[in-house]
């Protein structure tokens, strides 16, 4: 028997951030945080 599980297409974070004009600083902060963690 095949088990079929529904997947829900969620509103993406990019769209949410763009609507709030937060996309740019999110990307900058994200890059900073990841680079900091890379060094860690």
């Amino acid at each position: 028997c095949i088990v079929i599980l529904p997947l829900k297409k969620m509103k993406t974070l990019r769209e949410t951030l763009r609507e709030k004009n937060l996309l740019n600083n999110f990307l900058e902060e994200q890059a900073y945080r990841l680079s900091k963690n890379d060094s860690k």
């Binding site: 028997c1 095949i2 529904p6 993406t12 609507e19 990307l27 990841l34």
Partner: protein, 322 residues
């Protein structure tokens, strides 16, 4: 440490529910063919990301067993650190007993995302040492008549997308499935012959590799080659996004991926995303950082093509999605 493919969770969007424990605790997870571990946040997680997600409480599960070994899992855009546990995991009416899974105590890069954790469906070689990925655990317990799973990712509606286990439902695709041998059994990796536009090969001219990855949304390739494709689109870089004229959708040619001798066209309506008043390309560079000459075919590609992942024959089946 295996670095999982670039994952642009900013656009990751297909999420399904699983339960862990007795009584069951429910979680929203990404079913990810780009990794092989299952993890969810632990109730004792101290990262901001865990405050906005459901967390697993081992005290509330009579079937939980703490394995304890520390784990760190790296993703292209995030990292989790925690420890291993084991419990009963349910996907629909599939039951995976004594399933090893990660409980995150720290998370970076998963803030305010529309899912709690990740359920990896890649090969065991990608998994944490001495753990059995959930598909293999289910398979070894005879849960499937056919050891396959498949994805239908709906383009427009929030509902309607599915992941199916144990067989293939033909209602979700047109024509016949074209089978492509897996070239390397850790990711779901296949060989591509070339990528062309308007009859001219624009990338991957001597063949290349491609990861078929439901955990990545967009399409990634080596920066230099993606730049060539963007030149043909007259795309310009604006705030780390490749912006294209929205009129171009009417005139640009399909981007055609030739895989195992079969053409898989991607129409401009699929590779140019219109959000509010601007249109942007779904092609992103950067794969040269993790492996040369490799592309990642994410949800954008998998919305156009129904995909079957066949573990017994180590092959991927593709057919146009309905």
């Amino acid at each position: 440490i295996t670095i999982h493919p670039l994952r642009n969770y900013l656009d990751t969007a297909y999420v399904g529910n699983i339960t862990i424990g007795t009584p069951p605790q429910e979680f929203r997870v990404v079913f990810d063919t780009g990794s092989a571990n299952l993890w969810v946040p632990c109730i004792t997680c101290t990262s901001p990301a865990c405050y906005t997600h459901k967390t697993f409480n081992p005290q509330n599960s009579s079937s939980f067993r703490e394995v304890g070994s520390p784990i760190t899992i790296f993703y292209g855009s995030g990292i989790i650190q925690g420890f291993l546990g084991s419990d009963t995991v349910r996907i629909g009416n599939l039951v995976s007993p004594e399933q090893s899974f990660g409980l995150s105590l720290e998370e970076y890069g998963f803030d305010s995302l529309p899912f709690d954790g990740i359920l990896g469906l890649a090969f065991p070689a990608m998994g944490i040492e001495d753990t059995i990925p959930i598909f293999d655990n289910l398979w070894s317990h005879g849960a499937f008549s056919e050891p396959v799973f498949a994805f239908y990712l709906n383009t427009n509606k929030p509902e309607g997308s599915v992941v199916m286990f144990g067989g293939v439902d033909h209602r979700y695709y047109k024509g016949e499935l074209n089978w492509i041998p897996v070239s390397q059994t850790s990711h779901w990796q296949i060989s591509m012959n070339n990528i062309s536009m308007n009859g001219t090969v624009t990338a991957c001219s001597c063949g290349c590799e491609a990861l078929v990855d439901t955990g990545t949304s967009l399409i990634y390739g080596p920066t230099k080659l993606v730049t060539n494709i963007h030149k043909l689109m007259n795309a310009r870089l604006e705030n780390s996004e490749y912006v294209v004229s929205c009129d171009a959708v009417k005139t640009l040619p399909p981007v055609i991926f030739n895989i195992n001798g079969i053409d898989y066209p991607l129409r401009p309506q699929a590779y140019i995303i219109k959000i509010q008043n601007n249109c942007r390309s779904v092609f992103q560079g950067g794969t040269e950082n993790s492996s040369l000459n490799t592309w990642i075919l994410g949800d954008i590609f998998l919305r156009q093509y129904f995909s079957v992942f066949d573990r017994k024959n180590r092959r991927i089946g593709l057919a146009p999605a309905v």
